[in-house]
Amino acid sequence: MGHQRLVSTNTSPDISDALSARIADGLWFLARQWQMGEFEGENGGAPAQIILSQRVLPFTGVTLGPDVPPVPSSISPLEPLERLVEREPDEGGQPLAWNSETLSYDFAMHAGEATLRVTGYDGRALDWHDFVPERGVALNWAPALPDMVVTPGMIAFPGAPEPRHWTIEDGAAHFDSAFDPEPNVLSMLLPEFFYTDLKNWVVAPAPMPAGAMRKIDRVEVVDSFGVVTEVGPVADAGLRLFDVMDDDMRADLPDLVGKVMMLPAVAAQVVDCDVVEEVAWLRDEASNLVWAHERRLTDPTSGESASTGTEVAKDTLTTAVAGRYFTLASDVARAYIPYVPRQLAPTDRGEGEIGLRRGRTQREATPDAPQYRSEMVGESRWLHHETIPQTGLRTRRLARYARGADGEPHFWTGRDRDITPRDSRPGREVDYLRDESGE
């Protein structure tokens, strides 16, 4: 005995019917749009043309280091700014812009009367956000350039809703559902922006020369009905990206707020070549010290480069008499240079701050034959206390190469600063008992 059961199915392997999206009720679509308010015109036009009036002020000079008053030297926009700032002088010694107490570069750029200062550049990815205007930005702008007329485009980004409902949207981009916005409030704000405001943002391409500041004098939008509207800068400071001015300058120079951009003439890519020196700077709370560990050194005469990783500490403790000895501190390899905290002399601002003074662990080291062998440690007799974070630092002197905007190759020896990539403790023990076999 048996039976068969016939079951109908409503699935089909052919999806052509579904894809054809046949509509039997066009009026329904129209009615929905009407109900959603999509037919409500405002007698406004879409932006069809944007007219920009602008002035460009190229950078003409640079002051390396904290010189007061500044002594600018002229610069070329074709040379990478990194080389100008980082390179060591031909006759040797530390770069003019290098601050040996903060282990970073300080310099200032000049464009006409304007000065933009960079403090604490770490030798990596120099760009506009490093620059802080100092004075005179309002002065001496060049005459306005001829008006630039551009065609605006819609802002678009991966995952943004398509302007037409029948366009397939990007399935790879996923933004959190608006129904479950926790814990990220952005996941609620972003779709809100998509659906209510995205169409109100247009982009006007306006290329600018590298190595210059630009002031936008006037922006006029011509809409599709020919109506011309002048558009001002965004009032909300939080929305002004790429703004180099700080709050004080905004208060002093309200006419420039939101109108100034800068673009330094930096290299598109800096090729890091051989590392000449590498020093790790580490805090040692147990010893209340900062260690400068010279990891890699280069002999200036022969050019031979070597790692100090295999160096061992010179034994100064072992004695011929067996026994247990109290030991204040164990031996440390030569490559570890201690920096000892010292209170600086009181100043007008109050008590003296804490500075870090370079010391030595080898008794036989003298100023003429110092313990340190790297140039960077040699330059840094004092360090700012706050320069070395808990995580430690790594500074390097390295050969660098970049191509300028005119295609010329440029070489220099520069420096960079980074967090230390691996633990580099000296293995120092303090205040312990040591067993001596006496052999």
Binding site: I23, D25, G26, L27, F29, L30, A31, W34, Q35, G37, E38, F39, E40, G41, E42, A46, P47, I50, P77, L78, P152, H165, W166, Y195, T196, K199, N200, W201, V202, V203, A204, P205, P207, P209, A210, I216, V219, V221, D223, V231, V234, L263, A265, A268, Q269, C273, D274, G303, S305, A399, Y401, A402, R403, G404, A405, D406, G407, E408, P409, F411
Partner: protein, 490 residues
């Protein structure tokens, strides 16, 4: 030695020291006239034997064009790269080439002598054979077309050949004729005579080239004279072989006095400029010991990526730098031509990008564009009347008006309820700009019972008066909240 470092950067340097490296795909390599020698030996039994010589031959071909001024910067200043040392080197190579030349020409002469002897013997036999034919023969080969005896002989052979016809494919039999026998004999003899003439001409040409190149110039201290000897020897050898492009590699004797200063990489910083100090890993590659020994560092050809890109992108190179392949040349001859191909050893390779002078930036502008959107359906209108061929404005407006009416009717819900007000407060309210911030229902509100809708469906002009009577519950907006959904009262 020619060393080349390849770099791939995004633009062509203008007036820089780096020199453009023109790339070669294998096809273009074969098409290169200066490298045709290499192409000719492809696919011959010689290929395998000569393959290791290819890079060396290319290098040496370039090296032959080097001048003393080009050689001096390679190596430590003061290295014994003087002319006397070099002239000795070249003299040795020229002697060796001369020896090879003598071997080849001696062999050729011997061959010619034997060939001549054998040819004469062969045709002597032929003539003798003619004379013993039945009829009297006068004049020898080439003059026997009318000879009756030869014809008879041919006929006899043809008769026996004809018997073979059924078993030959196609039944075609190569019949003999007196003309054919004579013509064959004459052609063979002419061919051999021509070959001997050619070989003799080659010998003469080689001899003349050697005389012109100054074999007699034995001034050992003159580099020019020794180089002339070597070139003459190579040319003469090629003339002897009858192949003017045949690759002939001179053998230079190793000279300890020259190799020592050139050997260690750290001793040639002058020619390399700053590079070895920056890239220590290329040091071992610069040792000349590796040259020609198993070729651990393969000869590479660059490839220009910019050609197709420039076709796609019409912007100028200044505005949009494109990728090109460049080489940094170390200690090369100024006479090298980079338009015709180039061979060398890659000692370092890296990627870099040139910054553009004009960089892309943009302004983002917030501009309150009208919110109205195009409808999601396509309206296909039928002309208002059969007489009207084209649309006029009135007809189009009438069509649109009717469509809007139909749309409004479609918006009326079929879910009739008895509620007298909206389910969601203010869900059908929009601001009325004409009335100073007062609000009006977007969808007309119905106040009359549903049964009174009936006259509306007649699509009369009375519709506009009736629209004021449509309410929320007829609009189908049962799922929306807030003030008019998306527009938020705008």
């Amino acid at each position: 030695m020619i060393a080349v470092a390849l770099t791939r950067i995004a633009a062509e340097p203008k007036g820089s020291q780096a020199t453009r490296f023109l790339p070669h795909t294998p096809q273009s390599l074969l098409a290169d006239p200066t490298l045709r020698v290499m192409a000719t030996i492809e696919g011959t039994p010689l290929t395998e034997a000569l393959a290791p010589l290819k890079p060396l031959a290319a290098l040496l071909r370039r090296a032959r064009a080097l001048e003393m001024a080009d050689l001096t910067p390679i190596g430590v200043t003061g290295a014994p790269l003087d002319e006397v040392a070099h002239a000795g080197l070249w003299a040795g190579a020229a002697d060796e080439i001369t020896a090879r030349l003598n071997d080849v020409s001696t062999g050729l002469k011997d061959g010619l002598r034997q060939l001549k002897k054998q040819t004469e013997a062969c045709f002597d036999h032929w003539r003798i054979a003619y004379q013993i034919l039945p009829a009297s023969r006068v004049g020898g080969p080439g003059k026997s077309a009318d000879d009756a005896a030869l014809r008879q002989l041919c006929d006899a052979i043809n008769q026996s050949l004809a018997r073979l016809a059924p078993i030959l494919p196609g039944g075609e039999v190569p019949m003999l004729s007196a003309e054919r026998v004579d013509a064959d004999a004459a052609a063979r003899e002419a061919e051999l005579a021509s070959l001997m003439t050619t070989l003799n001409a080659r010998l003469d040409a080689a001899r003349a080239r050697l005389a012109e190149g100054g074999v007699a110039a034995t001034d050992a201290s003159s580099l020019t004279a020794q180089r002339g000897r070597l070139r003459a020897g190579v040319d003469a050898l090629r003339l002897l072989l009858g192949r003017p492009q045949f690759p002939i590699v001179p053998r230079f004797a190793p000279m300890p006095g020259l190799l020592a200063p050139l050997g260690p990489a750290q001793s040639i910083p002058v020619g390399l400029d700053i590079w070895p100090r920056l890239r220590s890993r290329i040091g071992p590659l610069l040792a000349l010991d590796g040259l020609g020994k198993g070729d651990p560092y393969a000869l590479r050809m660059g490839r220009d990526h910019g050609e197709s890109a420039s076709a796609d992108d019409p912007r100028s190179e200044e505005d949009a730098p494109r990728k090109h392949v460049f080489a940094r040349l170390i200690g090369t001859a100024s006479a090298l031509s980079f338009t015709s191909g180039f061979a060398g050893f890659v000692i370092d390779e890296w990627t870099e990008t040139r910054p553009a002078r004009m960089q892309p930036s943009a302004l983002a502008i917030n501009y309150d564009a009208p919110q109205a959107e195009p409808q999601n359906v396509i309206l296909l209108g039928v002309p208002a009347s059969l007489d009207a061929r084209d649309w006029d404005e009135a007809a189009a407006a009438r069509l649109m008006r009717e469509m809007i009416r139909w749309m409004q009717i479609r918006a009326a819900s079929t879910q009739e309820t008895l509620l007298t007000r909206s389910i969601l407060p203010d869900s059908n309210v929009v601001a009325d700009a004409r009335r100073n911030n007062s609000f009006v229902p977007r969808i007309p509100v119905r106040k009359t019972p549903a049964l009174k809708l009936l006259p509306f469906f007649s699509l009369t002009e009375g519709f506009h008066r009736a629209t004021a009577d449509f309410g929320f519950r007829t609009s189908g907006l049962t799922e929306l909240g807030g003030r008019g959904g998306k527009r938020r009262g705008k």
